[in-house]
């Protein structure tokens, strides 16, 4: 190869207590290319990029930027070297406008130190135009869409003269259409001479946008290839170490009587804005109903309303003929409704507590686990060990703190607890987020099993593949409404993308 090398991470090793996050990693990016870095959660992609961006220091290894050996021990150094990073979690100040966020810390100012806001606005608009996107300099970020926020983040790096842009899972929060727009932006950036590192686990996107791809697994590089010489199947097998496709084995659903009937439900979000605007849906015994949509379109509030975590403003939630709207979570749980919440670490688990304490979170008060308010530790141990076995929670013992488990195993603790009480209705929200592929399969199988055993399941997920594969019927949510009901077997991804963007037929 005669191409110039923009980034060369040489022989990087980084160890955290108990885990080797990066092991002798060698990572090269050519100048002016779009380079995808793929791998499952926990494969070490983020650690590697944190090392490149100066957030973490490697235990061993060297960093060469444009052929020069560099010591990047803080973010400032990385920025000065022309490296810009767009994090998965945006780092924007909500009450600031786009230019205020973009210029933060480096605003143009006169000799008295007074900031030239007009000059900054013009500068930002000019940069945006150069790379072919629009920016409204007076829009505060709190009122901006996710796509606009992301573009602001990209502009921020360009404002700081970044030549190398690292985008950490940029498409996770976007609709398919917004993703297309992002790809156009990325191509313009590369045309203008920038180098882009694109972190993702969506292989379809890699094939579409990247020139080359580096695959990581368990802290090591599994392979580097040009996208034109590889395939999704090959990349997938490198990622997981075996051939895996997201397919769920299941028979045709045999729905019976209605379990849940939601009618014209309206719910406000924490800011007091309407998040759910007149949703109606029903779920029958023996079926899985899916809710697809880009996150932030009211799915969270819908689930919170159904599980009693949020008051409803209007409408009814009829469960087995009884209106449970605005009822208490405990009351709702007593009626055998299980909830696998989207935020595993804050809502789903107390990560400071042990596995067994988490496993009995919904059943500790009943016999035989406790009598007269006193735990029967032997019974609890039997109960917990059985769940650990049944749900294949990989841990040496049940007294281990949940925080020391991997994401997938943590999620299995949640699933085990929720399904252990023989629910009639299971509400699963983003049940496989941050879970590795092997465990995703297991969780999907359990949801299908619930259905086949005569349960009703509501599956809310931002992963389109997941909803399409697992659910029997799918409602697409957009801006608080279900804009379309589809049979997942009868629509394709691009069709779904349009619905997810609020375009009805």
């Amino acid at each position: 190869m005669s191409k110039d090398i923009a980034i060369h991470l040489k022989n990087i090793t980084k160890e955290y207590p108990g885990v080797v996050a990066n092991k002798n990693v060698d990572f090269q990016v050519f100048k002016g290319e779009i380079h995808a870095l793929v791998g499952e959660n926990g494969a070490g992609k983020s650690t590697l990029m944190k090392i490149l961006y100066g957030i973490e220091q490697p235990d061993e290894g060297e960093i060469l930027i444009n052929g020069e050996l560099e010591q990047i021990n803080k973010v400032e150094t990385a920025i000065n070297l022309g490296i810009g990073m767009v994090h998965q979690e945006f780092t924007l100040v909500p009450s600031f406008t786009a230019p205020e966020n973009i210029g933060l810390g480096q605003e143009p100012r006169n000799s008295q130190g007074i900031i030239d806001w007009k000059g900054l606005n013009k500068l930002v608009v000019d940069i945006a135009e150069k790379y072919g996107f629009k920016v409204d300099p007076s829009l505060k970020m709190i009122d901006a869409s996710v796509g606009v926020q992301q573009r602001t983040e990209i502009l921020k790096t360009l404002y700081r003269n970044a030549n190398i842009l690292i985008l950490d899972e940029p498409t996770a929060v976007l609709t398919p259409q917004e993703t297309d727009e992002l790809f156009t932006v990325i191509r313009t950036l590369v045309d203008e001479g920038k180098t882009v590192v694109f972190i993702t686990h969506k292989l379809r996107e890699v094939m579409e946008i990247a020139d080359r791809v580096t695959v990581m697994r368990a802290g090591e590089v599994q392979g580097v290839s040009e996208t034109k010489n590889t395939s999704i199947a090959e990349l997938a097998s490198q990622m997981v170490g075996r051939e895996v496709f997201l397919q769920v084995k299941k028979d045709e659903a045999k729905p019976e009587e209605e379990i849940l009937n939601v009618e014209d439900l309206w719910v406000h979000d924490a800011r007091g804005l309407l998040a759910v605007k007149g949703v109606s849906l029903n779920i029958r015994k023996g079926e899985i109903v899916g809710i697809a949509g880009v996150e932030g379109n009211g799915q969270s509030e819908l689930v919170e309303a159904l599980t009693g975590l949020r008051k409803t403003s209007q409408g009814s939630i009829n469960y087995l003929g009884e209106n449970i709207a605005s009822s208490s979570p405990k009351n709702i749980r007593r009626k055998k409704i299980a909830h696998i919440p989207e935020d595993r670490t804050n809502t789903g688990l107390n990560t400071q507590l042990s596995i067994w304490e988490n496993l009995i979170g919904n059943s500790y008060f009943r016999k035989p686990l406790s009598t007269n308010g006193i735990f029967n530790l032997k019974k609890i141990a039997m109960h917990s060990n059985k769940l650990k076995e049944d749900f294949d929670i990989r841990a040496p013992n049940i007294s281990l703190k949940v925080k020391s488990l991997s994401g997938g195993n943590q999620q299995k603790v949640v699933v085990a607890r929720e399904l252990s009480e023989d629910p009639i209705l299971t509400i699963a929200s983003q049940p496989t987020r941050g879970v590795d592929i092997g465990n995703i399969e297991a969780i999907h199988e359990q949801l299908v099993q619930m259905r086949d055993d005569g349960g009703a399941v509501l599956l809310v997920s931002a992963e389109l593949d997941e909803v399409m594969a697992v659910a029997d019927r799918v409602g697409v949510m957009y801006e608080g409404q279900i804009v379309k009901w589809v049979n997942p077997k009868e629509v394709d991804q691009s069709q779904m993308g349009l619905y997810m963007a609020g375009i009805k037929d």
Partner: protein, 311 residues
């Protein structure tokens, strides 16, 4: 008419005098809160400065010695707060409370051991600030309104304008606001948020110190146990009511000052119980806190379904 008797020139002057200490410490609180530092310890900083000011003024028979000593006391107390909160990682509220309790007990103890006095200490040797006549106001119609105040009133106006400029028109100001709202975004922009927090804390020590000195060396020249009398807390409330902005805090402080001024005036007109009058600022604090609560409720008020627009 009684009301006309109450609202006259003297109440305007009394309003500015009462507002100044609250506004100055309030703006200190505003800078801290804007940077995400909940600085409860302002009260203690004021008290330490008030005592140090009296002590130095008495010892050296110089008001500027008192001024310097008071500022040093304010800065040292601020440094202690910063050390506890940022360096040692203590809870900011607890660190602030500790400082306030320590200041109250410490100044009381020192007064009793150094001056052998309990309750209050007053002596002719303590030199206080004299009112200043503003040259360019002389002879104008504004002279009776704005001239011949002591420093604190003028400082309050200067500070409000200065801090407003810093807050909205300098890198430091945007850095402070970014640190308070989203520290990660600030760090990402290369802003050292810990340094910003230290800066606003030290600055608050300076302002609280100055405010404390004015308590003991301006209109009165004496030190009384616990003489800050909750002004640090009232300043915090004023800054919260003013959305942590300099002008907002100034406006909210005027509200407290007005209550104070009316109270003093009523005392003259109606011969009310002085203890009732002394309660006014604290009663107003409760009122303002309720108003803040109501304002927050209004902000998150659910949009009535019928009014909302659904395409």
């Amino acid at each position: 008419m009684e009301w006309i008797e109450i609202f006259d020139l003297s109440i305007f002057r009394s309003l500015l005098r009462s507002t100044a200490p609250i506004a100055i410490v309030g703006m200190a609180a505003a800078m801290c809160s804007a940077a995400g530092v909940l600085n409860i310890g302002l009260e203690g900083k004021m008290l330490n400065a008030a005592f140090a000011g009296v002590y130095a003024s008495y010892t050296f028979e110089s008001v500027w010695a008192g001024f310097t000593a008071g500022i040093i006391a304010g800065l040292l107390t601020a440094a202690l707060f910063g050390l506890l909160s940022f360096t040692l990682g203590a809870d900011e509220v607890l660190a602030g409370l500790a400082i306030n309790i320590f200041a109250l007990a410490g100044t009381t103890y020192l007064m009793r051991t150094i001056f052998g006095q309990a309750g209050f200490f007053s002596d002719p040797r303590i030199v206080g600030f004299e009112p200043i006549s503003v040259p360019f106001l002389r002879g104008t119609f504004l002279e009776p309104f704005l001239s011949d105040f002591t420093y604190s009133v003028y400082l309050m106006f200067v500070l409000a304008i200065l801090l407003h400029t810093v807050y909205y028109r300098t890198r430091l100001g945007t850095a402070i606001r970014a640190t308070g709202e989203n520290p990660e975004a600030a760090e990402d922009a290369g802003i050292n948020t810990v340094r910003i927090k230290w800066m606003v804390t030290v600055f608050s020590g300076l302002l609280a110190g100055i405010s404390g000195i004015f308590l003991s060396l301006e209109n009165l020249t004496m030190f009384t146990e616990g003489m800050s009398a909750g002004k640090g807390y009232i300043g915090l409330v004023a800054s919260s009511f003013g959305n942590n902005t300099p002008f907002g805090t100034f406006g909210a402080s005027l509200f407290f000052g007005l209550g104070d001024a009316i109270g003093i005036r009523l005392q003259g007109v109606y011969e009310l119980d002085s203890r009732l009058i002394l309660m006014i600022p604290y009663a107003l604090t409760v009122v303002v806190l309720i108003l803040i609560g109501i304002r927050q409720r209004l902000r998150v008020r659910p949009v009535p379904i019928n009014e909302s627009s659904i395409e």
